[in-house]
Amino acid sequence: MTTVHPTPRTPPLVEQLKGGLDAPICLTWELTYACNLACVHCLSSSGRRDPRELTTAECFSVVDQLADLQVFYVNMGGGEPMLRKDFFDIVEYSVSRNVGVKFSTNGTYLDAAAARRLASMNYLDVQISLDGMDATTNDAVRGEGSWAAARRAMDHLAAADFGEFKISIVCTRHNVDQLDDYKAMADDYGAQLRITRLRPSGRGVDSYHDLRMTNDQQRQVFHWILDHPDVLTGDSFFHLNALNTETGGENLPGLNLCGAGRIVCLIDPIGDVYACPFVIHDDFLAGNVRDDGGFAHVWRESELFTELRQPQSAGACASCGSFDACQGGCMATKFFTGLPLDGPDPDCVHGHADDALAAIGQGVAPRPSQDHSRPGAAVPVALTRKI
């Protein structure tokens, strides 16, 4: 008889996760679409508050539901979450129910008093958003004064002895050469650096082609991340693992798979549940927490999430030797560039999507379903170096 291997008692971890869990491990919760900034690539097209926002009581109910599911923590954002008058109430309630809070802010409202209040709280992580090493680079994307506001917030956190906070940067064509500078700045603050991938989501739909990295820059980022294992990435660069032929098979750290609808999801300011924050579009809307059965029902029973938890076809990528490493890239990035989901990522390092992308006519790619931008507040993309 042929040799028999011991039967695995459980499927490999990655297969467990692809099939979805009974509850998210964590999730993103956008508290408001209101924002004082108008970043050119905002994934939620934020600016104006939506009048249908969840009330304070509804937010507390969401916290209760997450606690019951034992969701370990929430990533709160928006828009600018600190613009909600009940921001601290929601955060403190969440922590009291053992749902940890990490929140992302542009720092404008993180004054000295807020910093002290945050420093006094149990399980609370803060992430300051920045997109450049100096005001010129940053403000071109996030608006005049935004860099200064972020730096002030970081100074307040330091003064309040908050401890380690995160600085989070979206990698673009214009800031990728500043990675070492970001690392140095984070080190100076005793902060943790996080770099993430730009997706053509929200307002990013329009700025994507001006801001997306070149393939050479992608390779640069891939190797830089490997050289700096203490830098976080939100697992957002796994499409670059196709470059592991240059590293003897070494992949980026992390899960290297899409968790949307499987391990994570988004709750938006009006209670809509999407697969992830980068697909705020009707095609990826799973339900609403205000529906019967609340969040748990959406997570466990929605058609969309059930479908995402089925084995996904490699499609056009099946014949590519890199598929195991890159998993075909990012669903959101494919969707908003008009590419099929069962095919290569637009930023496929092998260039397998280049022809298809070039062939996509104007107006074909999906637009975000909603736009909360404040009229006239758009930040012009001043740095538009074409590839």
């Binding site: 011991p6 964590c26 976080l232 949307a260």
Partner: protein, 49 residues
């Protein structure tokens, strides 16, 4: 030519796990192949900004 009957313990390069699985022959061997704990990175996971 006779067909050589191969058995798990003689034909192929051995690993400890294969040998350990044949409990009847080597009852003292422990099952060392199980990896029961796995840690994963959860910085946001993909889909969280």
């Amino acid at each position: 030519m006779t067909v050589t009957e191969t058995t798990p313990d003689t034909a192929l390069p051995e690993s400890a796990e294969l040998r350990a699985d044949d409990v009847a022959e080597t009852p003292a061997d422990e099952v060392v192949d199980e990896v029961l704990v796995e840690e994963i990175s959860i910085d946001g996971m993909c889909g969280v900004y």
